[in-house]
Amino acid sequence: MKPAPFEYFAPESVEEALDLLEQHGDTAKILAGGQSLGPLLNMRLASPEVLIDINRLEDIAYIRHDDGYLKIGALARQRTIERSLLIPKSWPLLYEAAPYIGHPTLRNRGTICGSLAHADPAAELPAIATALDAELHILGPEGERSARPEEFFESYMTTSLKPEELLAEVRFPPPRPRTGVAWLEVARRHGDFALVGVAAVLTLREDGTCEAARLVYTGVAPVPYDAREAAELLAGEQPDGESFDAAAEKAAELSEPGSDVHASAAYRRHLIRVLSRRALGKALERARGEGDGSP
């Protein structure tokens, strides 16, 4: 298999990469981990005239803790999440979901920002970024801008990135107190794209009732499905089987999953119901500090 011919640039600095993007814009593609773009090129589902390979930009391969935020540069590989000491403690949702992204060899090269930019509707990281209210920092000819996940993910594999823009960094806000999280996913085989995956975030009040919750799903819509109406049912309630069932039911009812060769819409709805209940239960245990708190 051979991709269609392309011209190849390997810029040595972010500025150079941005210049190349401005010059070639529409006809160019950024090559990050290549774990999604490579297959598309080989099968000629994509045939850009120019590839701008950002793999030499070691200075944007960072994952750092800064001002309470977790900041992840464009070239940080997915594999670094699993090896980090900081992430499991403070951003356990990312840590818990990372092993579901393909397989170890793919995560050695695949980047966190590349997964967000690619915006596969069954990918884990877009749902995680939505559930944790991440900020996406974008560089382009007009300078820097930032986007919230709900603005960034527009449709099936489509984001608000313009052809001349680089997703330079994703920032995860500081963890909140009395908060528990959980990632659960069902796929045909471990490492396959999710049929349904859910991120649950549950924050308790001092008195043990529920202050706020988030339920965000992958695999059920063109963009991460943020079931706000369902999660809001939990605010002020006792976090228990009854309130969790109500939220899970609502999330399933308001979802509009598709049917495909992998699963029917009815099965996906069933998974939303079951996984939501379980994920909320797990998040609750962690919010209460039961168990060791780690995923």
């Binding site: 298999m1 011919p5 190849y8 390997a10 774990q35 297959p39 594999r79 060899t105 050695n108």
Partner: protein, 161 residues
Amino acid sequence: MDRHRKTVHLTVNGVEYEREVEVRKTLADFLRYDLGLRGTHLGCEHGVCGACTVMFNDSSARSCILYAVQADGADILTVEGLTSPEGPLHPIQEAFRKHHGLQCGFCTPGFLMPALELLVEKHGPTEKEIRNAISGNLCRCTGYAGIVEAIREADAMWERP
């Protein structure tokens, strides 16, 4: 030079090479056809089966979705570099042989790489860790049990550098 070609310098199995390549050539095709290292196999050619896995600067990587130009300056290890042609098999290979970790052998070069990566990183991996490490590699013959057994034995036998 033609804008679709570039010169690359890289090290493969300890040998330095300089070659001019078409930039759309995959690293796998480069290894097989330009360098004659046919031990790296191609199954799916789009990142799914793992047959083409090599070590790229000490990390396992699929060579069918890397382009040879990306390996400029890189250090690559393929199955041919695990041991010398006259020498004894590498302990991981020896364990695969002993435990029937292969039948047709098509997938084997690809399996050896994540096995190597795991064992360099970790002594005494659990079965779950072994299965996780090779989860991205497909084998149509063995049913995987022999492969897992082989990696377990290699862990015990191999005196790591």
